[in-house]
Symmetry: C2
Subunit: 149 residues, 2 copies
């Protein structure tokens, strides 16, 4: 399986540390597009290891599947991605990481201002108008703060 440069899904799962089901899920979401054997089985190229590894890392950095799909879509389709291609993506991720850190720091300073003030029940408390939520990854109450359905 290593000789002719393609791998089965189990092989690539072992090499990337992802589960087989997750890899099929990513294909369904369009993040990867393995070729198929005549019998219908997925055959992965070495470039797919990089894509899957990137998915794994980007998720740890807090990007959603959709975001990751967006980044991957900007990779050149014709040629093999270069180190510079990946670096460009990394810089774009760094920017969103910076933004999240800044938000958390703002929230923290607002919290500091509130410790001991006992104002938690009042609309005027700064924490009420934090704007963007600190833990913004999950599903959560989507229509709570003005995003009308």
């Amino acid at each position: 399986m290593r000789a002719d440069d393609v791998m089965l899904i189990g092989d690539i799962a072992a090499r990337t540390g992802l589960s087989v089901s997750a890899i099929r899920f990513y294909e369904a979401r369009g993040l990867i597009t393995p070729i198929r054997s005549p019998g219908g089985q997925r055959r992965f190229r070495r470039a797919d290891i990089r894509r899957l590894s990137f998915i794994r890392i980007a998720q740890q950095l807090g990007l959603s599947i959709e975001d990751i799909a967006g980044e991957l879509a900007r990779l050149p389709s014709g040629r093999t991605p270069t180190a510079e291609d990946w670096a460009r993506i990394s810089r774009s991720i760094r920017a969103s990481l910076d933004a999240r850190i800044a938000t958390l720091q703002q929230v923290r300073s607002r919290l500091d201002g509130c410790i001991g003030c006992g104002c938690l029940s009042l609309k005027k408390c700064a924490l009420y108008n934090a704007g963007d939520k600190a833990g913004a990854t999950g599903a959560g109450p989507r229509y709570l703060l003005g995003e009308t359905p």
Copy 2:
């Protein structure tokens, strides 16, 4: 409704900015325990405004419902919570906020070390071993990194 110191669910929803359904949901999860009218309708005391406001704020800070339940459970059951009670909780939240910021900053510095190195496909990349995930609120791949089912 304001005269005799108790409110209907719609009133408290309006005052806290929460939806009626969310408040019922919080009761089901044990975060609040309103008394009931003879006919079975919920009657809220003024202290419930504080609890609900706290829930709202704590969520914006990224705490889960379960975490919030834990904090609220530590409030004195006999007497009305004082400003110091709330302050103690705030400090505990600040600690977890600090931890999240620290994690993100670590991840960012690791990312910086990786920009341009092109190592994304290799197990030895520092980003692989980030430990705790940066965006840790959502459901996500729970069994991915060693938390056996």
